[in-house]
Point group: none
Chain length 129, copies 4
DNA sequence: GTGGTCTAGACCACA
DNA sequence: GTGGTCTAGACCACG
Protein backbone atom coordinates (compact mmCIF):
# COMPACT_ATOMS: atom_id res chain seq x y z
CA UNK A 1 0.00 0.00 0.00
CA UNK A 2 1.22 3.45 -0.96
CA UNK A 3 1.12 6.11 1.75
CA UNK A 4 2.03 9.74 1.16
CA UNK A 5 2.33 12.70 3.46
CA UNK A 6 1.46 16.26 2.61
CA UNK A 7 4.00 18.12 4.69
CA UNK A 8 2.48 21.55 4.04
CA UNK A 9 -1.10 20.63 4.84
CA UNK A 10 -0.75 21.36 8.55
CA UNK A 11 -2.59 18.11 9.29
CA UNK A 12 -0.96 15.87 11.88
CA UNK A 13 1.11 13.22 10.02
CA UNK A 14 -0.25 10.35 12.10
CA UNK A 15 -3.78 11.42 11.16
CA UNK A 16 -2.89 11.51 7.49
CA UNK A 17 -1.72 7.91 7.73
CA UNK A 18 -4.83 6.85 9.63
CA UNK A 19 -7.12 8.45 7.07
CA UNK A 20 -5.35 6.96 4.07
CA UNK A 21 -5.35 3.44 5.45
CA UNK A 22 -8.95 3.75 6.63
CA UNK A 23 -10.17 4.99 3.30
CA UNK A 24 -8.28 2.39 1.37
CA UNK A 25 -9.65 -0.36 3.63
CA UNK A 26 -13.16 1.04 3.46
CA UNK A 27 -13.17 1.24 -0.31
CA UNK A 28 -12.00 -2.30 -0.75
CA UNK A 29 -8.62 -1.27 -2.12
CA UNK A 30 -7.15 -3.18 0.82
CA UNK A 31 -8.69 -6.58 1.54
CA UNK A 32 -9.02 -8.45 4.81
CA UNK A 33 -5.74 -9.91 5.97
CA UNK A 34 -3.64 -7.77 3.67
CA UNK A 35 -0.49 -6.47 5.38
CA UNK A 36 0.34 -2.83 6.07
CA UNK A 37 3.89 -1.59 5.44
CA UNK A 38 6.25 -2.37 8.33
CA UNK A 39 6.73 0.53 10.72
CA UNK A 40 10.47 1.03 10.37
CA UNK A 41 10.77 1.26 6.56
CA UNK A 42 7.58 3.28 6.27
CA UNK A 43 8.83 5.80 8.82
CA UNK A 44 12.10 5.99 6.95
CA UNK A 45 10.52 6.54 3.55
CA UNK A 46 8.19 9.21 4.96
CA UNK A 47 11.11 10.73 6.90
CA UNK A 48 9.23 10.81 10.18
CA UNK A 49 9.82 9.22 13.57
CA UNK A 50 8.87 5.55 14.02
CA UNK A 51 6.77 6.56 17.02
CA UNK A 52 4.55 8.58 14.73
CA UNK A 53 3.85 5.61 12.46
CA UNK A 54 3.33 3.40 15.50
CA UNK A 55 0.81 5.89 16.85
CA UNK A 56 -1.10 5.81 13.56
CA UNK A 57 -1.21 2.02 13.57
CA UNK A 58 -2.29 1.96 17.21
CA UNK A 59 -5.09 4.37 16.41
CA UNK A 60 -6.16 2.17 13.49
CA UNK A 61 -6.18 -0.87 15.73
CA UNK A 62 -8.26 1.08 18.25
CA UNK A 63 -10.76 1.83 15.54
CA UNK A 64 -10.87 -1.83 14.57
CA UNK A 65 -9.52 -1.24 11.08
CA UNK A 66 -6.36 -3.30 11.49
CA UNK A 67 -5.03 -6.08 13.67
CA UNK A 68 -1.50 -6.17 15.03
CA UNK A 69 0.16 -9.53 15.35
CA UNK A 70 3.24 -9.07 17.45
CA UNK A 71 6.37 -10.07 15.59
CA UNK A 72 4.48 -10.39 12.33
CA UNK A 73 3.14 -6.96 11.58
CA UNK A 74 -0.11 -5.12 10.97
CA UNK A 75 -2.96 -6.50 8.86
CA UNK A 76 -6.36 -5.29 7.71
CA UNK A 77 -8.82 -6.64 10.29
CA UNK A 78 -10.96 -9.68 9.50
CA UNK A 79 -14.26 -8.12 10.39
CA UNK A 80 -13.29 -4.85 8.81
CA UNK A 81 -16.58 -3.40 7.63
CA UNK A 82 -16.36 -1.07 4.67
CA UNK A 83 -17.96 2.30 5.27
CA UNK A 84 -21.62 2.64 4.62
CA UNK A 85 -22.08 4.55 1.40
CA UNK A 86 -23.33 7.49 3.43
CA UNK A 87 -19.98 7.77 5.17
CA UNK A 88 -18.15 7.42 1.87
CA UNK A 89 -20.20 10.23 0.48
CA UNK A 90 -19.44 12.38 3.51
CA UNK A 91 -15.69 11.96 3.04
CA UNK A 92 -15.99 12.76 -0.62
CA UNK A 93 -18.24 15.75 0.00
CA UNK A 94 -15.64 17.16 2.35
CA UNK A 95 -12.97 17.04 -0.33
CA UNK A 96 -15.25 18.54 -2.97
CA UNK A 97 -16.38 21.33 -0.65
CA UNK A 98 -12.78 22.21 0.02
CA UNK A 99 -12.12 22.52 -3.69
CA UNK A 100 -15.25 24.65 -4.14
CA UNK A 101 -14.19 27.02 -1.37
CA UNK A 102 -10.79 27.39 -3.03
CA UNK A 103 -12.47 28.14 -6.35
CA UNK A 104 -14.68 30.71 -4.69
CA UNK A 105 -11.76 32.56 -3.12
CA UNK A 106 -9.77 32.42 -6.33
CA UNK A 107 -12.77 33.89 -8.15
CA UNK A 108 -13.21 30.94 -10.45
CA UNK A 109 -16.76 30.73 -11.78
CA UNK A 110 -18.85 27.59 -11.26
CA UNK A 111 -18.72 26.94 -14.96
CA UNK A 112 -14.92 27.18 -15.14
CA UNK A 113 -14.69 25.05 -12.02
CA UNK A 114 -16.77 22.26 -13.51
CA UNK A 115 -14.77 22.41 -16.70
CA UNK A 116 -11.55 22.08 -14.71
CA UNK A 117 -13.02 19.08 -12.89
CA UNK A 118 -13.83 17.42 -16.21
CA UNK A 119 -10.34 18.15 -17.45
CA UNK A 120 -8.68 16.64 -14.39
CA UNK A 121 -10.87 13.54 -14.56
CA UNK A 122 -9.75 12.99 -18.16
CA UNK A 123 -6.15 13.55 -17.15
CA UNK A 124 -6.51 10.89 -14.47
CA UNK A 125 -8.06 8.45 -16.92
CA UNK A 126 -5.05 8.83 -19.19
CA UNK A 127 -2.39 8.32 -16.54
CA UNK A 128 -4.23 5.29 -15.18
CA UNK A 129 -3.68 3.23 -18.31
CA UNK B 1 -15.64 38.26 2.68
CA UNK B 2 -16.91 34.71 3.13
CA UNK B 3 -14.84 32.38 5.30
CA UNK B 4 -15.71 28.75 5.96
CA UNK B 5 -14.23 26.17 8.27
CA UNK B 6 -14.04 22.48 7.73
CA UNK B 7 -14.31 21.26 11.28
CA UNK B 8 -13.53 17.62 10.45
CA UNK B 9 -10.52 18.13 8.21
CA UNK B 10 -8.00 17.97 11.04
CA UNK B 11 -6.37 21.08 9.63
CA UNK B 12 -5.88 23.83 12.19
CA UNK B 13 -8.76 26.33 11.95
CA UNK B 14 -6.40 29.30 12.05
CA UNK B 15 -4.53 27.91 9.03
CA UNK B 16 -7.77 27.44 7.14
CA UNK B 17 -8.52 31.12 7.69
CA UNK B 18 -5.03 32.16 6.65
CA UNK B 19 -5.24 30.18 3.42
CA UNK B 20 -8.66 31.45 2.49
CA UNK B 21 -7.80 35.10 3.06
CA UNK B 22 -4.48 34.71 1.30
CA UNK B 23 -6.06 33.12 -1.72
CA UNK B 24 -8.84 35.67 -1.86
CA UNK B 25 -6.32 38.49 -1.70
CA UNK B 26 -4.06 36.81 -4.22
CA UNK B 27 -6.84 36.28 -6.75
CA UNK B 28 -7.91 39.88 -6.55
CA UNK B 29 -11.22 39.01 -4.87
CA UNK B 30 -10.08 41.33 -2.07
CA UNK B 31 -8.60 44.66 -3.11
CA UNK B 32 -5.99 46.78 -1.35
CA UNK B 33 -7.42 48.53 1.68
CA UNK B 34 -10.52 46.37 1.81
CA UNK B 35 -11.44 45.42 5.40
CA UNK B 36 -11.47 41.89 6.73
CA UNK B 37 -14.29 40.80 9.04
CA UNK B 38 -13.73 42.02 12.61
CA UNK B 39 -12.26 39.38 14.90
CA UNK B 40 -15.12 38.99 17.35
CA UNK B 41 -18.08 38.62 14.98
CA UNK B 42 -16.11 36.28 12.72
CA UNK B 43 -15.11 34.11 15.66
CA UNK B 44 -18.71 33.99 16.77
CA UNK B 45 -20.05 33.04 13.36
CA UNK B 46 -17.42 30.30 13.00
CA UNK B 47 -18.08 29.24 16.61
CA UNK B 48 -14.41 29.39 17.58
CA UNK B 49 -12.48 31.47 20.10
CA UNK B 50 -11.52 35.09 19.31
CA UNK B 51 -7.87 34.21 19.72
CA UNK B 52 -7.95 31.65 16.96
CA UNK B 53 -9.09 34.30 14.49
CA UNK B 54 -6.63 36.79 15.98
CA UNK B 55 -3.81 34.31 15.43
CA UNK B 56 -4.81 33.87 11.80
CA UNK B 57 -4.84 37.64 11.26
CA UNK B 58 -1.49 38.02 13.02
CA UNK B 59 0.00 35.36 10.75
CA UNK B 60 -1.43 37.16 7.72
CA UNK B 61 0.13 40.40 8.90
CA UNK B 62 3.45 38.58 9.34
CA UNK B 63 3.21 37.38 5.77
CA UNK B 64 2.49 40.91 4.60
CA UNK B 65 -0.96 40.09 3.26
CA UNK B 66 -2.79 42.27 5.72
CA UNK B 67 -2.30 45.47 7.70
CA UNK B 68 -3.93 45.79 11.09
CA UNK B 69 -4.79 49.07 12.77
CA UNK B 70 -5.55 48.66 16.46
CA UNK B 71 -8.97 49.95 17.30
CA UNK B 72 -9.85 50.18 13.60
CA UNK B 73 -9.60 46.71 12.13
CA UNK B 74 -7.69 44.58 9.62
CA UNK B 75 -7.21 45.58 5.99
CA UNK B 76 -5.68 44.06 2.87
CA UNK B 77 -2.12 45.41 2.65
CA UNK B 78 -1.11 48.06 0.13
CA UNK B 79 1.74 46.16 -1.50
CA UNK B 80 -0.22 42.98 -1.73
CA UNK B 81 0.76 41.33 -5.01
CA UNK B 82 -1.77 38.93 -6.51
CA UNK B 83 -0.61 35.48 -7.50
CA UNK B 84 0.02 34.83 -11.14
CA UNK B 85 -2.99 33.07 -12.59
CA UNK B 86 -0.84 29.99 -13.11
CA UNK B 87 -0.32 29.74 -9.35
CA UNK B 88 -4.04 30.15 -8.72
CA UNK B 89 -4.80 27.32 -11.09
CA UNK B 90 -2.17 25.15 -9.46
CA UNK B 91 -3.72 25.60 -6.04
CA UNK B 92 -7.16 24.83 -7.34
CA UNK B 93 -5.98 21.84 -9.33
CA UNK B 94 -4.40 20.39 -6.22
CA UNK B 95 -7.70 20.60 -4.33
CA UNK B 96 -9.64 19.07 -7.20
CA UNK B 97 -7.13 16.28 -7.66
CA UNK B 98 -7.39 15.44 -3.98
CA UNK B 99 -11.15 15.09 -4.31
CA UNK B 100 -10.74 12.93 -7.42
CA UNK B 101 -8.29 10.64 -5.64
CA UNK B 102 -10.75 10.25 -2.79
CA UNK B 103 -13.46 9.37 -5.29
CA UNK B 104 -11.27 6.71 -6.84
CA UNK B 105 -10.35 5.25 -3.46
CA UNK B 106 -14.02 5.05 -2.58
CA UNK B 107 -14.79 3.58 -5.98
CA UNK B 108 -17.12 6.35 -7.03
CA UNK B 109 -17.62 6.59 -10.78
CA UNK B 110 -16.67 9.72 -12.67
CA UNK B 111 -20.31 10.33 -13.51
CA UNK B 112 -21.42 10.13 -9.88
CA UNK B 113 -18.51 12.34 -8.91
CA UNK B 114 -19.48 15.07 -11.35
CA UNK B 115 -23.08 14.91 -10.22
CA UNK B 116 -21.96 15.33 -6.61
CA UNK B 117 -19.87 18.35 -7.62
CA UNK B 118 -22.91 19.94 -9.27
CA UNK B 119 -24.97 19.24 -6.17
CA UNK B 120 -22.43 20.81 -3.82
CA UNK B 121 -22.09 23.89 -6.02
CA UNK B 122 -25.86 24.39 -5.80
CA UNK B 123 -25.78 23.86 -2.06
CA UNK B 124 -23.08 26.49 -1.84
CA UNK B 125 -25.08 29.01 -3.86
CA UNK B 126 -28.00 28.62 -1.47
CA UNK B 127 -26.07 29.14 1.75
CA UNK B 128 -24.16 32.08 0.30
CA UNK B 129 -27.24 34.27 0.08
CA UNK C 1 1.13 64.34 43.44
CA UNK C 2 3.83 62.98 41.17
CA UNK C 3 3.06 59.83 39.23
CA UNK C 4 5.56 58.04 37.01
CA UNK C 5 5.28 55.08 34.70
CA UNK C 6 7.93 52.47 34.10
CA UNK C 7 7.24 51.60 30.48
CA UNK C 8 9.64 48.64 30.40
CA UNK C 9 8.41 46.96 33.56
CA UNK C 10 5.75 44.93 31.81
CA UNK C 11 3.32 45.90 34.57
CA UNK C 12 -0.05 47.21 33.39
CA UNK C 13 0.08 51.05 33.44
CA UNK C 14 -3.25 51.38 35.22
CA UNK C 15 -1.93 49.13 37.99
CA UNK C 16 1.20 51.22 38.34
CA UNK C 17 -0.97 54.30 38.91
CA UNK C 18 -3.19 52.47 41.40
CA UNK C 19 -0.20 51.27 43.40
CA UNK C 20 1.52 54.64 43.53
CA UNK C 21 -1.59 56.49 44.70
CA UNK C 22 -2.46 53.77 47.18
CA UNK C 23 0.99 53.73 48.71
CA UNK C 24 1.17 57.51 48.91
CA UNK C 25 -2.24 57.63 50.57
CA UNK C 26 -1.37 54.82 52.94
CA UNK C 27 1.87 56.42 54.03
CA UNK C 28 0.28 59.76 54.74
CA UNK C 29 2.03 61.51 51.87
CA UNK C 30 -1.45 62.30 50.60
CA UNK C 31 -3.95 63.52 53.20
CA UNK C 32 -7.72 63.14 53.28
CA UNK C 33 -9.44 65.44 50.82
CA UNK C 34 -6.32 66.14 48.83
CA UNK C 35 -6.97 66.15 45.08
CA UNK C 36 -5.51 63.73 42.54
CA UNK C 37 -4.25 65.08 39.20
CA UNK C 38 -7.05 65.60 36.70
CA UNK C 39 -7.43 62.74 34.24
CA UNK C 40 -6.80 64.59 30.99
CA UNK C 41 -3.51 66.34 31.84
CA UNK C 42 -2.17 63.29 33.66
CA UNK C 43 -2.90 61.05 30.69
CA UNK C 44 -1.20 63.57 28.46
CA UNK C 45 1.91 63.87 30.60
CA UNK C 46 2.20 60.06 30.90
CA UNK C 47 1.46 59.73 27.18
CA UNK C 48 -1.25 57.14 27.69
CA UNK C 49 -4.94 57.02 26.88
CA UNK C 50 -7.37 58.87 29.18
CA UNK C 51 -9.34 55.65 29.54
CA UNK C 52 -6.35 54.06 31.18
CA UNK C 53 -6.10 56.79 33.82
CA UNK C 54 -9.87 56.69 34.29
CA UNK C 55 -9.63 52.94 34.86
CA UNK C 56 -6.97 53.44 37.53
CA UNK C 57 -9.08 56.05 39.32
CA UNK C 58 -12.16 53.84 39.11
CA UNK C 59 -10.19 50.98 40.65
CA UNK C 60 -9.00 53.28 43.43
CA UNK C 61 -12.58 54.38 44.11
CA UNK C 62 -13.60 50.72 44.18
CA UNK C 63 -10.96 50.07 46.79
CA UNK C 64 -12.20 53.02 48.84
CA UNK C 65 -8.95 54.95 48.53
CA UNK C 66 -10.38 57.95 46.68
CA UNK C 67 -13.72 59.60 46.13
CA UNK C 68 -14.85 60.99 42.80
CA UNK C 69 -16.96 64.12 42.83
CA UNK C 70 -18.43 64.49 39.37
CA UNK C 71 -17.40 67.75 37.77
CA UNK C 72 -14.87 68.46 40.53
CA UNK C 73 -12.34 65.68 40.34
CA UNK C 74 -10.89 62.89 42.40
CA UNK C 75 -9.93 63.24 46.08
CA UNK C 76 -8.36 61.05 48.75
CA UNK C 77 -11.28 59.49 50.60
CA UNK C 78 -12.34 60.80 54.00
CA UNK C 79 -12.27 57.51 55.81
CA UNK C 80 -9.12 56.45 54.03
CA UNK C 81 -7.41 54.17 56.48
CA UNK C 82 -3.64 53.96 56.18
CA UNK C 83 -2.32 50.46 55.81
CA UNK C 84 -1.59 48.55 58.90
CA UNK C 85 2.13 48.49 59.42
CA UNK C 86 2.11 44.79 58.57
CA UNK C 87 0.83 45.59 55.09
CA UNK C 88 3.41 48.35 54.69
CA UNK C 89 6.10 45.89 55.58
CA UNK C 90 4.76 43.39 53.10
CA UNK C 91 4.94 45.92 50.28
CA UNK C 92 8.43 46.85 51.24
CA UNK C 93 9.54 43.26 51.63
CA UNK C 94 8.36 42.57 48.10
CA UNK C 95 10.58 45.33 46.71
CA UNK C 96 13.57 44.24 48.77
CA UNK C 97 13.17 40.61 47.78
CA UNK C 98 13.14 41.59 44.15
CA UNK C 99 16.42 43.42 44.57
CA UNK C 100 17.90 40.44 46.38
CA UNK C 101 16.88 38.04 43.61
CA UNK C 102 18.52 40.37 41.08
CA UNK C 103 21.70 40.45 43.16
CA UNK C 104 21.68 36.67 43.38
CA UNK C 105 21.42 36.20 39.64
CA UNK C 106 24.05 38.84 38.99
CA UNK C 107 26.33 36.99 41.41
CA UNK C 108 26.65 39.90 43.79
CA UNK C 109 27.62 38.78 47.28
CA UNK C 110 25.47 39.65 50.29
CA UNK C 111 28.19 41.89 51.57
CA UNK C 112 28.53 43.83 48.33
CA UNK C 113 24.76 44.04 48.14
CA UNK C 114 24.46 45.59 51.57
CA UNK C 115 27.22 48.01 50.76
CA UNK C 116 25.42 49.06 47.60
CA UNK C 117 22.25 49.59 49.64
CA UNK C 118 24.07 51.85 52.05
CA UNK C 119 25.54 53.77 49.14
CA UNK C 120 22.18 54.31 47.51
CA UNK C 121 20.61 55.41 50.79
CA UNK C 122 23.32 58.06 51.14
CA UNK C 123 22.83 59.14 47.55
CA UNK C 124 19.13 59.58 48.26
CA UNK C 125 19.82 61.62 51.39
CA UNK C 126 21.97 63.99 49.36
CA UNK C 127 19.48 64.57 46.57
CA UNK C 128 16.65 65.09 49.04
CA UNK C 129 18.16 68.26 50.48
CA UNK D 1 19.56 27.41 38.55
CA UNK D 2 17.23 29.05 41.04
CA UNK D 3 14.20 30.87 39.70
CA UNK D 4 11.65 32.66 41.87
CA UNK D 5 8.33 34.27 41.05
CA UNK D 6 6.78 37.26 42.73
CA UNK D 7 3.12 36.38 42.38
CA UNK D 8 1.84 39.75 43.61
CA UNK D 9 4.06 42.02 41.55
CA UNK D 10 1.67 42.27 38.63
CA UNK D 11 4.57 41.55 36.30
CA UNK D 12 3.92 38.73 33.88
CA UNK D 13 5.44 35.51 35.23
CA UNK D 14 7.02 34.62 31.91
CA UNK D 15 8.83 37.99 31.90
CA UNK D 16 10.10 37.39 35.41
CA UNK D 17 11.62 34.12 34.23
CA UNK D 18 13.13 35.75 31.16
CA UNK D 19 14.74 38.49 33.22
CA UNK D 20 16.17 36.14 35.81
CA UNK D 21 17.69 33.77 33.29
CA UNK D 22 19.00 36.63 31.20
CA UNK D 23 20.65 38.26 34.18
CA UNK D 24 22.10 35.01 35.41
CA UNK D 25 23.54 34.31 31.98
CA UNK D 26 24.79 37.87 31.62
CA UNK D 27 26.55 37.86 34.96
CA UNK D 28 28.33 34.64 34.20
CA UNK D 29 26.38 32.70 36.82
CA UNK D 30 25.32 30.42 33.99
CA UNK D 31 28.02 29.30 31.58
CA UNK D 32 27.76 28.42 27.90
CA UNK D 33 26.16 25.05 27.35
CA UNK D 34 24.81 24.83 30.86
CA UNK D 35 21.27 23.40 30.94
CA UNK D 36 18.22 25.30 32.15
CA UNK D 37 15.65 23.51 34.29
CA UNK D 38 13.33 21.35 32.16
CA UNK D 39 10.00 23.02 31.40
CA UNK D 40 7.68 20.63 33.22
CA UNK D 41 9.41 20.35 36.60
CA UNK D 42 10.07 24.09 36.71
CA UNK D 43 6.45 24.88 35.94
CA UNK D 44 5.39 22.48 38.65
CA UNK D 45 7.69 23.96 41.27
CA UNK D 46 6.55 27.50 40.39
CA UNK D 47 2.95 26.28 40.29
CA UNK D 48 2.27 27.73 36.85
CA UNK D 49 1.34 26.18 33.53
CA UNK D 50 3.98 24.49 31.37
CA UNK D 51 3.25 26.91 28.56
CA UNK D 52 4.17 29.92 30.63
CA UNK D 53 7.65 28.53 31.16
CA UNK D 54 7.79 27.43 27.53
CA UNK D 55 6.97 30.97 26.44
CA UNK D 56 9.75 32.37 28.61
CA UNK D 57 12.25 29.91 27.12
CA UNK D 58 11.04 30.68 23.60
CA UNK D 59 11.53 34.39 24.25
CA UNK D 60 15.02 33.69 25.57
CA UNK D 61 15.81 31.71 22.44
CA UNK D 62 14.54 34.61 20.34
CA UNK D 63 16.89 36.93 22.17
CA UNK D 64 19.77 34.55 21.56
CA UNK D 65 20.36 33.86 25.24
CA UNK D 66 19.45 30.22 25.03
CA UNK D 67 19.52 27.33 22.56
CA UNK D 68 16.83 24.70 22.72
CA UNK D 69 17.19 21.15 21.44
CA UNK D 70 13.85 19.39 21.09
CA UNK D 71 13.76 16.25 23.15
CA UNK D 72 16.97 17.25 24.91
CA UNK D 73 16.33 20.50 26.73
CA UNK D 74 17.33 24.15 26.86
CA UNK D 75 20.92 25.34 27.15
CA UNK D 76 22.75 28.65 27.52
CA UNK D 77 23.73 29.73 24.00
CA UNK D 78 27.31 29.50 22.76
CA UNK D 79 27.67 33.10 21.67
CA UNK D 80 26.10 34.43 24.82
CA UNK D 81 27.97 37.60 25.72
CA UNK D 82 27.89 38.60 29.38
CA UNK D 83 26.83 42.15 30.27
CA UNK D 84 29.56 44.57 31.14
CA UNK D 85 29.73 44.88 34.90
CA UNK D 86 28.51 48.46 34.59
CA UNK D 87 25.25 47.21 33.12
CA UNK D 88 24.91 44.62 35.89
CA UNK D 89 25.32 47.31 38.48
CA UNK D 90 22.79 49.53 36.73
CA UNK D 91 20.16 46.80 36.81
CA UNK D 92 20.79 46.09 40.46
CA UNK D 93 20.83 49.77 41.40
CA UNK D 94 17.45 50.21 39.76
CA UNK D 95 15.96 47.43 41.87
CA UNK D 96 17.49 48.79 45.07
CA UNK D 97 16.37 52.33 44.33
CA UNK D 98 12.84 51.11 43.82
CA UNK D 99 12.89 49.48 47.24
CA UNK D 100 14.30 52.66 48.79
CA UNK D 101 11.58 54.78 47.19
CA UNK D 102 8.96 52.44 48.61
CA UNK D 103 10.54 52.75 52.03
CA UNK D 104 10.41 56.53 51.84
CA UNK D 105 6.79 56.52 50.69
CA UNK D 106 5.90 54.28 53.59
CA UNK D 107 7.95 56.46 55.93
CA UNK D 108 10.30 53.71 56.97
CA UNK D 109 13.56 55.01 58.43
CA UNK D 110 16.89 54.18 56.81
CA UNK D 111 17.85 52.19 59.84
CA UNK D 112 14.71 50.06 59.79
CA UNK D 113 15.17 49.62 56.06
CA UNK D 114 18.67 48.28 56.40
CA UNK D 115 17.58 45.94 59.15
CA UNK D 116 14.82 44.61 56.93
CA UNK D 117 17.35 44.05 54.16
CA UNK D 118 19.55 42.03 56.50
CA UNK D 119 16.55 40.01 57.61
CA UNK D 120 15.48 39.20 54.07
CA UNK D 121 19.02 38.19 53.10
CA UNK D 122 19.06 35.72 55.97
CA UNK D 123 15.64 34.41 55.01
CA UNK D 124 16.91 33.90 51.49
CA UNK D 125 19.95 31.97 52.67
CA UNK D 126 17.72 29.60 54.58
CA UNK D 127 15.30 28.78 51.75
CA UNK D 128 18.12 28.35 49.27
CA UNK D 129 19.44 25.28 50.99
C1' DG E 1 -16.57 48.79 19.87
C1' DT E 2 -11.33 47.55 17.96
C1' DG E 3 -6.95 44.43 18.21
C1' DG E 4 -3.10 42.60 21.59
C1' DT E 5 -1.31 39.72 25.39
C1' DC E 6 -0.84 36.33 29.06
C1' DT E 7 -2.08 32.03 31.16
C1' DA E 8 -3.85 27.53 30.74
C1' DG E 9 -5.21 22.77 28.92
C1' DA E 10 -4.85 19.30 25.42
C1' DC E 11 -2.42 17.19 21.91
C1' DC E 12 1.63 16.29 18.77
C1' DA E 13 6.46 14.89 17.26
C1' DC E 14 10.56 13.33 18.79
C1' DA E 15 14.60 10.93 21.90
C1' DG F 1 10.94 11.75 29.26
C1' DT F 2 11.95 16.36 26.06
C1' DG F 3 10.12 20.84 23.68
C1' DG F 4 6.40 22.72 20.22
C1' DT F 5 1.66 24.03 18.82
C1' DC F 6 -3.23 25.04 18.78
C1' DT F 7 -7.38 26.47 21.10
C1' DA F 8 -9.51 28.92 24.73
C1' DG F 9 -10.62 32.36 28.54
C1' DA F 10 -9.57 36.57 30.90
C1' DC F 11 -7.73 40.97 30.91
C1' DC F 12 -5.51 45.18 28.90
C1' DA F 13 -4.92 49.53 25.98
C1' DC F 14 -7.01 52.19 22.79
C1' DG F 15 -10.86 54.79 19.66
Amino acid sequence: MLIRLNYKSGKAPYLQIVDQVKHAAASGALREGEPLPAIRPLAESLRINRNTVAKAYAELENQGVVETKVGKGCFIAENNTPFKSSVCQEILTEAIDHAIVQAHHLQVSNKDFQQLVTERLKQFENTKH
